[in-house]
């Protein structure tokens, strides 16, 4: 099939970017979206032009590296997948596809479609861990039984891949879904309860410092999240935050 592409090109963080048009003639429907971009890049290299830079690594939806806005939607039209799992069979012959980077003040563009998401790392560094030593001799793993449905809930929250689609989808560029997923995982588990108060306060403080916007409950993040991280986590984080404030 024939596909018309409109792709954001930007030399580096300080340059201004613009949309550039490309046309691809022989796209196959069982190609993945990123393989379609590989084909475009091979063409560009052959012509001596610089290929389009985009972030990707695992190409199976788990590392969270890929991060494209496709026709205004993070990770493209299909639900519950990352863009590396998107296949060209989701498009039709003659379609025009607009590809842009994830946009947010806290995610500056590095080049073309690549953004800097280290703000997410700093939020995790502020408290996204349980303070146990890795070199000690901790208690036996089965010493504290955890109810299956609680463990499953913690697991659901823990599956966040840190891609940033929630931020890109949000009109306020809020990082609440991402932050609350980690806060929830640890708040649910007995091992994480001990530091729950400091954790939520520190992570939320860092989130604000990084320049992410406020949450106004539009729910766009949940819709676009490739891992189905639920808004319940934001509610849980808000409860944790409020009770932390009460505890002082």
């Amino acid at each position: 099939m024939k596909i018309y592409l409109k792709i954001w090109r930007q030399k580096d963080v300080d340059s201004k970017g613009k949309i550039v048009d490309y046309t691809l003639n022989n796209v196959e429907s069982d190609m993945s979206f990123l393989e379609m971009l590989d084909v475009l890049n091979e063409d560009l290299v052959a012509k001596g032009e610089e290929p389009v830079e985009f972030d990707h690594d695992c190409r199976e939806g788990i590392c969270g590296t890929c991060s494209l806005m496709i026709n205004g939607q993070p990770h493209g039209p299909d639900r519950l997948i990352t863009v590396c799992q998107l296949h060209m069979r989701s498009f039709n012959d003659g379609d025009t596809i607009v590809i842009e980077p994830f946009r947010a003040k806290a995610f500056p563009v590095i080049k073309d479609l690549i953004v800097d998401r280290t703000a997410f790392d700093r939020i995790q560094q502020a408290g996204g861990y349980i303070s146990v030593n890795t070199s000690g001799n901790p208690v036996d793993a089965n010493a504290i039984p955890i109810k299956k449905h609680v463990a499953d809930k913690a697991m659901d929250a823990a599956t966040c891949i840190g891609c940033g689609a929630c931020v890109a989808a949000c009109k306020n560029a809020s990082a609440m879904l991402f932050t609350s997923a980690k806060v929830s995982q640890f708040a649910l588990l007995p091992q994480g309860r001990v530091e729950a108060t400091e954790r939520v306060q520190n992570m939320v403080r860092q989130m604000d410092l990084e320049g992410f916007g406020n949450c106004t409950n539009t729910g766009a993040c949940e819709v676009e999240c490739p891992k189905g991280i639920s808004l319940e986590n934001i509610a849980r984080m808000n409860r944790e935050y409020l009770s932390a404030a009460v505890e002082g």
Binding site: K11, D38, E50, R59, E60, F120, D121, Q125, Y129, A151
Partner: protein, 667 residues
């Protein structure tokens, strides 16, 4: 004693590690503050090592090429992690895990290392639970287990189909805690391009900042390489796109011996290749073999009809199907080790029984499991005489709870519903048992250069059992390396910071710059991917699932030729002082083009079949691997002396005192 000293502690097997730990020189906490360690790689091995080293008091610098340590390739591991906890009470023990691993590795691994691995395995689970890793649990609240190939007990811990992700996020969290304390400095989007030796010791690295293109010098008292495996040599594999051998290969060229490069794991259950544009292959976790049955049509006509789309697999009667693993290996059935399962699939497809367009696919079928689970569920829910529909629905729910994300992944890629029609699978390159040679302390042949995780050769011999890579990465990083490295660093308490303006840093940086310039000055005929794909074809066709002398000799010549062509004609756009993904890829492919030659040479010299290395000349009449313990019971450690094909062989003879060396049988 030869050049290779494995430094295995004396004494009975079960006491070696405890004894060694007691005898190791320690660095006191005050002195650790004056010692710097570089860790290249933030996967399970590097991430856990960095966190523990920092916690012990060393100053750590970590490097990864991704934008965050959390994205290392370990994140993609699906199935699980082994540990000899014996929570299921099915007779598991440290010895049994040790035994299974040595046997699974076809008696080509080092006894003492494997025993230590089995010994610390159960600590890993304690550690991870304390860190908040949400492993799967049973209704009673205790941890759940599943079985993996090549073993008869249930010792695999898992977190849905995302075990690697959860373990890595645990290690990443431990790293974050140390970053927050100022004990780890994390360099992301940085690629190590060379190792710096001062007075014969590893004292630093040269790295490229992948965003600015800047070439940087970083010094330390020791360098730990935890840079993962080299399977991307084959172009198509289950590895992440950026996985590479550069860090290990550069260390090899500076004096670290490379062991058993030809020991590569081809995983039996991956989604088959669909076309020329394909950029990577996707694994369907081995855990699926717990419940999936593997088969091909018995009759060639049926296979052909299926390939042509005239017949559906679900239309084929039970008696017209060949469950070839159950037929050939009744004791282990669908749970034979990976090398055995892969070869058996290839054998059936080569004989014309393949089931997709290209003839290179077999079925992995869940219908029997769905019905079995459905019946059980109906029974426990008190539903009497359920109809087929109800049973299917109930069974489907259970299968979905177990493997839902894998089924979804499959459906997205293949556009078929695996609950309704069997999955199609085929073997693909997945793991490399070979890697930098290390001694018992995980030190390479370069003093001060250590190697952990998949990048080293240590524990899996000629074949790795499922769920043992995660175990090894975390064992190395949390429990072994942070202690063994102290023995070496105890000599460095008065050394002081290593200056980066030493002539050795200058010279190594110059060499790196020249190499980049040379890459950029190619004539510009073909793209980097063009060469990578060509190399991959040579590797897959001539050094893949089965090998022979003629092919291997051809491969050596063809790779050398391709390498020459690459250096003259590769085309790299853009410039080196910017973010430049073509240049990044080119550097990696340049190293693969050297490794490939050594790989083929290693495979050619090993005149036997063992584990993942199958030489057509050495097989039994039934087509099983024929090992030669008299001549090849050793690890082959290669020393770089110029062209890879001229590399010098050093042998580490393997001795088995605690296990009887037998012909592996899964029948």
């Amino acid at each position: 004693m030869g050049v290779l000293d494995s430094k295995i502690p004396s004494g009975p097997l079960a006491d070696k590690w405890a004894k060694h730990k007691n005898e190791i020189d320690l660095v006191n906490p005050a002195n650790k503050r004056n010692i710097d360690v570089i860790v290249v790689g933030t996967g399970l091995a590097g991430g856990s090592a960095a966190a523990t080293l920092a916690e012990l008091g060393y100053n750590v610098k970590t490097f990864c090429y991704q934008d965050s340590p959390r994205r290392a390739h370990s994140i993609a591991a699906q199935g699980g992690v082994n540990a000899a906890k014996n929570y299921q009470g099915d007779g598991d023990s440290v010895y049994r895990l040790f035994y299974d691993t040595v046997k699974g590795g076809d008696y080509r691994s080092r006894e003492a290392n494997v025993y230590r691995l089995a010994e610390v395995s159960s600590n890993i689970i304690d550690q991870c639970v304390a860190q908040g890793v949400p492993f799967a649990r049973e209704y009673g609240g205790l941890l759940d287990n599943r079985s993996f190939g090549g073993v008869l007990v249930s010792r695999t811990f898992y977190a849905k189909g995302q075990t690697g992700q959860q373990l890595l996020l645990g290690a990443y969290a431990a790293m974050n805690r140390q970053i927050q304390r100022g004990k780890i400095k994390s360099y992301t989007r940085h690629e190590m391009l060379d190792l710096v030796l001062v007075d014969g010791k590893a004292r630093g690295i040269i790295a490229r900042d992948l965003v600015t293109g800047e070439i940087e010098r970083h010094s330390a008292h020791a360098v730990v390489l935890a840079s993962g495996g080299y399977g991307n040599l084959f172009f198509l594999s289950t590895y992440a796109m950026g996985a590479n051998v550069t860090a290990a290969w550069k260390a090899h060229k500076r004096g670290a011996f490379f062991a058993n490069p030809c020991f590569t794991q081809i995983h039996p259950t991956c989604i088959p290749v669909s076309g020329d544009h394909q950029s990577k292959l996707t694994l369907m976790s081995e855990s699926l073999r717990n419940d999936g049955r593997i088969w091909v049509p018995k009759r060639l006509e049926d296979a052909q009809a299926i390939r042509e789309g005239k017949l559906k697999p679900t239309q084929l009667k039970e008696e017209d199907r060949d469950y070839y693993l159950e037929r050939r290996y009744p004791a282990f059935g669908n749970l034979v080790p990976r090398d055995v399962a892969s070869r058996a699939a290839k054998e059936r497809c080569d004989a014309g029984h393949g089931v997709n367009k290209t003839g290179e696919a077999v079925y992995l079928d869940f219908e029997a499991a769905i019905m079995r689970y459905g019946k059980e569920k109906a029974f426990t829910s008190g539903i009497k005489d359920p109809d087929k529909e109800t049973t299917r629905r109930l069974g489907k729910e259970i299968v979905e709870a177990k493997y839902g994300n894998l089924f979804q992944m499959y459906e997205k890629i293949v556009d078929q519903n695996p609950y309704e029609t069997p999955m199609m699978i085929y073997p693909a390159v997945h793991y490399t048992m070979g890697g930098l040679w290390v001694d018992y302390n995980l030190q390479t042949t370069i003093p001060g250069c250590y190697c952990a995780g998949e990048a080293n050769f240590s524990d899996h011999g000629a074949n790795r059992l499922g769920a043992s890579a995660l175990m090894q990465g975390l064992a190395d990083g949390y429990f072994v390396l942070p202690y063994t490295i102290g023995d070496y660093l105890s000599d460095d308490i008065r050394t002081g910071a290593i200056p980066t303006d030493a002539p050795e840093f200058e010279a190594t940086e110059k060499a790196v710059r020249e190499k980049i310039e040379k890459l950029m000055s190619g004539k510009g005929l073909h793209s980097v991917d063009y060469y990578h794909k060509k190399l991959g074809k040579i590797m897959w066709n001539k050094c893949g699932m089965s090998r022979n002398e003629k092919d291997l000799k051809e491969a050596i010549a063809e790779i050398a030729e391709l390498r020459k062509d690459f250096w003259e004609n590769v085309k790299i756009t853009g410039n080196p002082d910017d973010k430049n993904q073509e240049l990044e890829k080119a550097g990696r492919v340049a190293d693969f083009l050297e490794l490939g030659e050594l790989f083929a040479k290693d495979a050619l010299h090993r005149n036997e079949s063992c584990g993942g290395h199958f030489r057509e000349e050495y097989q039994t009449p039934e087509g099983e691997a024929l090992r030669d313990d008299k001549n090849f019971k050793y690890a082959a450690a290669w020393e770089y002396v110029g062209e890879p094909k001229d590399s010098k062989l050093h042998k580490e003879e393997l001795t088995y005192e605690n296990i009887e060396v037998k012909t592996r049988s899964y029948k």
